[in-house]
């Protein structure tokens, strides 16, 4: 998987996380592995409930202690396994080395503290600075994220800002200690489209200016396209495909990724192209099934798919580091029937599509 010689910053391997809920155990993340190189941006893509947020929060060990359990895995950062680290070490890492930016800034900013204070406390948690220097840093940060009149807005409260401005404050907090990695958890989802573009531009800009690595979480492949160097597609808590961004868009290698790409509007190409939805609903995470997790919604499925879960293996005829979890795309006995499929023209078995649609309607 070594595409170039940049040192590995964050190395997550074999991560499995479950939640104890009233409905039973929810298997949120299963055997997830990913790595981030210095200054690199990677993206985790998947539907809501696919385990993206849970996975990144577990890196900082921010999951609710009462219900969440990390069943297995390692999170190597600076030669240490963060999952085994003590509370003091974690506090040192949080915000300082690895920062988290949240989806909804209105919920993630404390309503009764000024934004100046909320940024300042992040700095003070890791650096002992005289008061006026902290203040200068805060003003600097607010200016850096594009908030005009930063000096006067230190004493403002979150509710006095617009949504886009609040997200800028959130980002200012994330970069306040110049972290090595920013975990950006759906940071644009709560914003309208024009503001989304501004915030993405800002993040991209800051990441390159500060040479910060970034883990971008999104359910929107369009958001990911211009930002990340590598993409991990998640389905039901598992990585189902990973590749460099260009490779993934040029040679998507399994039916779920195809489905995602078909449901993203494209500017190039024929205007008459219809968006094709992925039929069915995500699986119930409290139930474990033996086959491929996507198989119930897959219009290309065969018998083997329901019997055994495929491994995440190198996809044939693709670049190095392009892995996929699909029997149809792997050269194994009983598998490989999708190797020659053109995903843009072949939408799978129409009979299966119908069947999936009607069973989802009954189930829902």
């Amino acid at each position: 998987m070594s595409e170039n010689s940049k040192p590995l910053l964050l190395d997550v391997s074999g991560l499995s996380i479950s939640f104890a809920t009233k409905q039973g155990v929810v298997w949120a993340v299963q055997n997830l592995s990913l790595c981030v190189q210095q200054g690199e941006t990677i993206a985790l893509v998947g539907e809501s409930g696919s385990g993206k947020s849970v996975a990144v929060r577990s890196i900082l060990r921010l999951l609710p202690k009462a219900t969440a359990r990390i069943d297995s895995g390692r999170v190597l950062f600076e030669g240490r396994d963060l999952l085994q680290a003590d509370e003091a070490t974690m506090r040192e890492v949080r915000g300082n080395k690895i920062a988290l930016a949240f989806q909804d800034p209105m919920a993630a900013l404390n309503p009764v503290l000024t934004v100046g204070e909320q940024i300042a406390e992040a700095i003070r948690a890791h650096e002992e600075l005289p008061k006026h220097e902290v203040r200068e840093r805060v003003v600097e940060l607010l200016t850096l994220v594009g908030i005009p009149g930063a000096e006067d807005r230190l004493t403002w409260y979150p509710h006095q800002f617009s949504g886009g401005m609040r997200q800028r404050v959130m980002i200012a907090i994330a970069i306040s200690c110049n972290p090595d990695v920013i975990l950006a958890d759906e940071v644009t989802t709560a914003l309208d489209v024009t503001i989304q573009a501004q915030i993405l531009e800002l993040l991209k800009d800051l990441a390159s200016k500060l040479s910060t690595a970034m883990v971008l979480i999104s359910h929107d492949l369009g958001v990911v396209a211009g930002m990340a160097q590598r993409v991990y597609v998640l389905y039901a808590g598992r990585v189902v495909e990973t590749a460099t961004t260009d490779d993934l868009f040029d040679h998507p290698s399994m039916p779920y990724t195809w489905g995602l790409l078909r449901s993203v509007p494209r500017l190039e190409g024929e205007a008459l192209d219809k968006l094709v939805p992925i039929e069915g609903v995500p699986p119930d995470a409290t139930k474990s099934a033996k086959g491929c997790r996507f198989q119930p919604r897959c219009a290309y499925r065969r018998d083997i798919c329901a019997e055994r879960e495929p491994d995440l293996l190198l996809a044939p005829d693709t670049n190095e580091g392009h892995l996929t979890r699909c029997w149809g795309r792997q050269e194994v006995t009983e598998g490989g029937w999708l190797l020659a499929t053109d995903w843009q023209s072949d939408l799978g078995d129409p009979g299966l599509v119908k069947q999936i649609r009607s069973s989802a309607a009954v189930g829902g």
């Binding site: 949080r94 993630a108 404390n110 309503p111």
Partner: protein, 316 residues
């Protein structure tokens, strides 16, 4: 803020007027009138004295005139004369209010000092033995009648152990040590119910706030758990508690009556109880007004505190 205060002051005035009408009406809906009550059974038979007294008390005037007279006198601090003791009602109430206010403040302070830490710890240690203990303590507090608790305390600490004086009252500024010694038992008796209610509220609102995203965000900055709890969680959890305290002031003043009787404290509650037994209408009327005003002013105060604490209200 000025606008907010003006609005609150306005509604407070309206409620005061309503309360004054109600408390004035009490005297007039009861059979017999003030003059008959003052003259007693024998004097009431003398119709000339009765008419004279009615005229001098202004009772021969129409009701609304009587009400306005009473109101203008009341606004000047003149509530008339007690039928029972013949003393001026204004000064009488002020002197009897001192012990009650002192006791109520002591009880509320005690209540807050106990319930906030117990509630916060219960919330943080949710579903542990500590939490169960806190809940048990809270329910016991709510379920135990104040007067019974007072008598039990008196039995144990004054009669058996002889650690505390059994009853009496000393103003705090005259002898702080003795005043505290005298207030411990009635204070606990009066605080128990409030403490139980507050523990439950503090616990519930801390648990709710701890589930908020900004708590995760605070942790993600690398703040210590203590800072997260007190700076981020507690400041948000306190709002419903402030409102509840404001609402409970009236309850506490009401509860003071029985506790005052048990501990022989010459307070407003006892004054009210005595006045009711003696049909001392003018006094009851004034006590009602005073209590209503106290409740209104404290809830206004609670709102102001709330607004000071919550920037979203302050700027609204």
């Amino acid at each position: 803020m000025a606008k907010f205060l003006a609005r609150r002051a306005f509604t407070t005035c309206i409620v005061v007027i309503l309360v004054s009408i109600i408390s004035f009406s009490i005297v007039n809906v009861l059979p017999g009138d003030l003059a008959a009550a003052i003259l007693g059974e024998e004097g009431g038979a003398d119709s000339q004295r009765y008419e004279e007294l009615r005229a001098s008390l202004g009772l021969d005037q129409p009701l609304y005139i009587q009400y306005l007279n009473w109101l203008t006198d009341a606004l000047r601090g003149d509530f008339g004369i007690s039928m029972r003791t013949q003393e001026d009602i204004g000064p009488a109430i002020v002197s009897r209010a001192v012990p009650t206010i002192q006791l109520a403040i002591f009880a509320m302070a005690l209540s807050i000092l106990v319930s906030v830490p117990v509630g916060v710890i219960s919330a943080v240690r949710q579903r542990t033995m500590v939490d169960t203990g806190g809940t048990l303590f809270a329910i016991l507090g709510v379920a135990t009648p104040g007067f019974w608790l007072g008598i039990m305390l008196m039995l144990v600490f004054a009669v058996w152990l002889r650690w505390l004086p059994p009853s009496g009252f000393v103003p705090f500024w005259e002898n702080p040590v003795e005043a505290l010694r005298l207030m411990i038992m009635p204070g606990i008796a009066l605080a128990s119910g409030l403490t139980g209610v507050l523990i439950r509220q503090v616990r519930a609102s801390v648990i709710e706030v701890l589930g908020e995203e900004y708590i995760v965000a605070a942790r993600s900055k690398g703040l210590t758990e203590r800072v997260v709890l007190y700076k981020h969680a507690f400041r948000n959890a306190i709002f419903p508690v402030v409102t509840l305290i404001g609402l409970q002031v009236g309850q506490t003043f009401g509860g003071a009556a029985t506790v005052e009787v048990v501990f022989s404290i010459p307070g407003l509650g006892r004054l009210a109880v005595d006045s009711i037994f003696f049909r001392d209408f003018t006094m009851i009327q004034a006590v009602m007004m005073f209590l209503a005003l106290t409740v209104l002013l404290t809830s206004l105060l609670a709102d102001i505190v709330y607004a000071r604490l919550d920037p979203r209200v302050r700027y609204a």
